[in-house]
């Protein structure tokens, strides 16, 4: 296969994978479900009528067993989906953080040891920090995140008389901007920018971490930026003056070595 052919075939695979994601049950392009499960999976809950026919549950093509919640309530999950999509929105490059399952990733991270700060120093008193000393809060990441979600809704209702996930994208952006600029009281003395910073970090991780963590659906986060994932060597590529695009590989490809 020539270099050019190789490149084209890679691009073909990439676009067909995108098409697959757009059309597959992962994001529920076609089938619309009711009940708690359905509301979790609805792509855009404002644009569709809910069908509460429970028979459809059996037909749900849940291809990815990573998509289930360890931590969030369905409503918290939906707020998170809406928020991550504004941090990393769908555009001409491809899907946004919502379709890449960043909210699933966040749910899994907050459920685990990192969400409970188990490797952080937690002893002694928590004083107010100078700017250069880094955050000093007793609040665990999982609790900070939930306080942030509550606060997103409260602020949205104060400003726009609706929950965060119901707002227009531009309104959601304004809410998030206010949070990022510390203009909102969150919980106790905790600043809204701390929550925002956590949300941003988790969104970027959810888009770009190995898919085994639940986000970066089908490695499309990687392919959008032509990142080949976790391949074992680039001895030839690194010496080539031209850019060489490679199809991404996940850690799963290292199993059995």
């Amino acid at each position: 296969m020539s270099e050019q052919e190789k490149k084209e075939s890679v691009l073909d695979k990439r676009s067909s994978r995108r098409t697959f994601i757009k059309n597959s049950g992962l994001t529920v392009g076609g089938v619309v479900l009711g009940g708690a499960l359905g509301s979790l999976l609805i792509k855009d809950d404002k644009s569709t009528t809910h069908n509460t026919d429970t028979q459809n549950h059996a037909k749900t093509p849940i291809a990815n067993p990573n998509i289930a919640l360890m931590f969030f309530t369905p409503n918290q999950y939906q707020i998170t989906q809406a928020a991550v999509e504004r941090i990393f929105p769908e555009d001409a490059n491809g899907p946004g953080a919502k379709e890449l399952n960043a909210a699933v990733y966040i749910d899994h991270q907050l459920a685990g040891p990192w969400g409970s700060n188990v490797k952080d120093y937690r002893l002694g008193a928590f004083y107010k920090a100078e700017e250069n000393q880094g955050p000093q809060t007793k609040l665990l990441r999982k609790d900070l995140f939930l306080a942030g979600l509550d606060s997103l809704n409260k602020y949205s209702n104060d400003q726009y008389k609706a929950d965060f996930k119901e707002l227009e994208a531009t309104q959601q952006d304004e809410v998030l901007l206010a949070f990022s600029e510390d203009k909102v009281e969150l919980y106790g003395k905790v600043s809204s920018s701390q929550f925002f910073s956590l949300l941003r970090t988790l969104t970027i991780e959810g888009v770009y971490a190995d898919p085994m963590y639940g986000g970066n659906n089908e490695m499309v986060g990687w392919s959008m930026r032509k990142y080949p994932g976790s391949r074992m060597q680039y001895v030839a590529e690194i010496q080539d003056e031209k850019f060489i695009e490679l199809e991404p590989q996940s850690l799963n490809s290292h199993m059995g070595h």
Binding site: D120, E205, P228, F243
Partner: protein, 574 residues
């Protein structure tokens, strides 16, 4: 309850590069060594799933668990220090190999100027060139020529790749392996550097450029440029790491009693010497006392100072009087003055790389240029590197781009493979109020005080950063980037943001027991059977990664310890 164990000749605290080298050298000479390591044992098999950016880089898989111990930090002597509660700037290794497992592999020698910095500065510019606050700037007590054989030994053991550079000190031998390959961005830098009349060189690397068998008979394969060095272990063993070099050699002798999960809490002492150490098994909580003829303290920079201070060995440094030595001359690394280049229609294979892959010039290092007309001392390497850009960590966008949202996404993807830096790595010289001591309030999980860091960038750093920014800008313009963002200002130090983990000083070497804690064998002036190894021994940090010099000094210390076991007494007269 503390179980007292039988006395041994040598106990080593910490099994990174320093502890590993000493253990290998002593056991090869037939001396029994007990090696205490607070983390677990590691081999390349531990890195089978090593290409996991989240786990290793962002969840710090190979790093010390901060829930058990951290540092506290303040910018000034009058401030209140607060704990670094999660990782920001410093990453502290844990487990066999220590920081030598997760490092990038950039392996430099320091300059002849570094070792005699006070003398040479005064010779060329007069005493008034050294500001009062930099009083701690001193010669190391050893010259480059005396250090050269130790550098040579370290480089041969680790298989360092590189090319001879004129503006450094003389080498008796070429590097044991040839330099790493040149990538397109390195060629761009090289072309610009050559057009200015500079002599660019490929950065010396512990990422092997070819298969190599070292003098100990350890064979390792070549680097595959997989881009997972910094924060990661090398599954090929291509990266020089104590766990694939000196520690297996020490194990093979049968003379190394390696005890993992063994965290040393303090040194015990009597009559001006150490008796041994108290350590705790981190899995079971059992405590042990290990008596020894010689105690080698070879943990990380921070814990070296902390262990001595918590044990009451050596005199703590007092920034008010300038008296005392433990905690003195903490130095860091200055990286202000870089330029970030963005290209509209060029893409580079930035997903590949190696931790030490890069190109650099030496013309602005140390005293390689005239400082008569500038208001700072020492200098910086001007360099471009290609570590491999991982997507969570690296999202470079032009200045003014929002940190999130539609524009962020568009630009971060657009430039993901269309950018690179021309950056600086500058020396950090001592300030009398940059130092380490014990925190008066915060404790570790066993109730021992945490180490307190008081640190801020100095006028020297700010002036140097500004000066270097003009040079990196010049490079960027010559290379022809479409957008160039140059950072001219050194911002205040931020313990959760600054991106460097080169820490030095605290237990420094020298010729005068009033001004230094150690002699040039890294033997303590105030406790002759205690040797304190690591970058903690550097009186200042040069414009280089510290490991090469740390390794060379460890070989010298190993020589000193053998001499001490035979003869006793101070190995250097004060």
């Amino acid at each position: 309850m503390v179980t007292k164990l039988p006395k041994v000749p040598v106990v080593v605290v910490g099994m990174g590069w320093a502890g590993g080298i000493v253990s290998a050298e002593l056991t090869k000479a037939g001396i029994s060594v007990v090696g205490l390591e607070r983390g677990k044992d590691r081999t390349t098999a531990d890195y089978a799933m090593g290409h996991d950016e989240l786990r290793y880089q962002h969840r710090q898989e190979l790093m010390q668990d901060l829930s058990k111990e951290t540092i506290t930090y303040r910018n000034t002597v009058s401030g209140k220090a607060l704990p670094m509660r999660h990782y920001g700037t410093f990453i502290v290794g844990d487990g066999v190999g220590g920081a030598g497992s997760h490092w990038n592999g950039q392996t430099y020698r320091f300059l002849p100027y570094d070792f005699e910095i006070r003398t040479k500065t005064i010779e060329r510019y007069g005493i008034e060139k050294i500001p009062a606050w930099m009083e701690g700037l001193n010669d190391w007590g050893i010259t480059y020529d005396e250090m050269e054989p130790y550098y040579d030994t370290f480089e041969k053991m680790a298989g360092i790749s590189g090319e001879t550079v004129e503006l450094w000190g003389k080498r008796t031998n070429p590097y044991p392996t040839p330099p790493l390959v040149k990538t397109q961005l390195m060629k761009e830098f090289e072309k610009a550097a050559t057009s200015f009349g500079y002599k660019p060189f490929v950065i010396p690397a512990a990422n092997l450029s070819e298969s190599y068998t070292n003098p100990d008979g350890i064979s390792r394969g070549a680097c595959q440029y997989c881009a997972y060095c910094e924060n990661f272990g090398c599954e090929y063993g291509a990266k020089g790491d104590p766990a694939v070099t000196v520690i297996p050699v020490a194990k093979q002798t049968g003379k190394l009693d390696l005890r993992t999960h063994s965290n040393v809490l303090e040194l015990t002492k009597s009559g001006g010497k150490a008796d041994g150490v108290i350590y705790v098994d981190m899995l079971t909580g059992e405590k042990f006392e290990q008596p020894a003829d010689v105690v080698v303290v070879a943990s990380y920079v921070f814990n070296n100072s902390r262990l001595l201070l918590n044990s009451g060995i050596g005199t703590p440094y007092d920034p008010k009087t300038g008296k005392g030595t433990i905690g003195k001359n903490y130095c860091y690394q200055v990286t202000a003055g870089g330029s970030q280049l963005f290209f509209e229609d060029r893409e580079f294979n930035l997903y590949g790389g190696a931790g030490a892959l890069g190109i650099e010039i030496a013309e602005y290092m140390g005293d390689n240029f005239d400082h008569a007309e500038v208001d700072f001392l020492h200098g910086a390497g001007i360099r471009s590197t290609q570590y491999g850009d991982r997507p969570i960590a690296v999202n470079r966008v032009p200045a003014g781009t929002p940190a999130w949202g539609a524009e962020f996404k568009e630009k971060s993807i657009k430039y993901a493979n269309s950018n690179f830096p021309v950056k600086t790595q500058g020396a950090s010289l001592p300030h009398k109020e940059n130092y380490l001591d014990l925190d008066p309030e915060f404790k570790d999980e066993f109730g021992y005080p945490l180490l307190r860091m008081t640190y801020e960038y100095t006028d020297n750093d700010r002036a140097m950063g500004k000066y270097m920014s003009a040079i990196t800008r010049k490079f960027a313009e010559e290379i022809g980037a479409d957008i160039i963002d140059t950072n001219e200002v050194q911002a205040p130090f931020n313990v959760n943001k600054d991106g460097n983990t080169h820490n030095t000083g605290g237990v420094i070497m020298g010729t005068d027991p009033e001004k230094s804690a150690l002699n040039t064998y890294l033997q303590m002036w105030e406790a002759e059977n205690v040797f304190v190894l690591g970058a903690s021994a550097f009186p200042h940090n040069s414009c280089f990664n510290p490991t090469g010099t740390l390794g060379a000094l460890s070989y010298r210390a190993a020589e000193g310890i053998q001499k001490y076991l035979k003869e006793g007494g101070l190995l250097v007269k004060a």
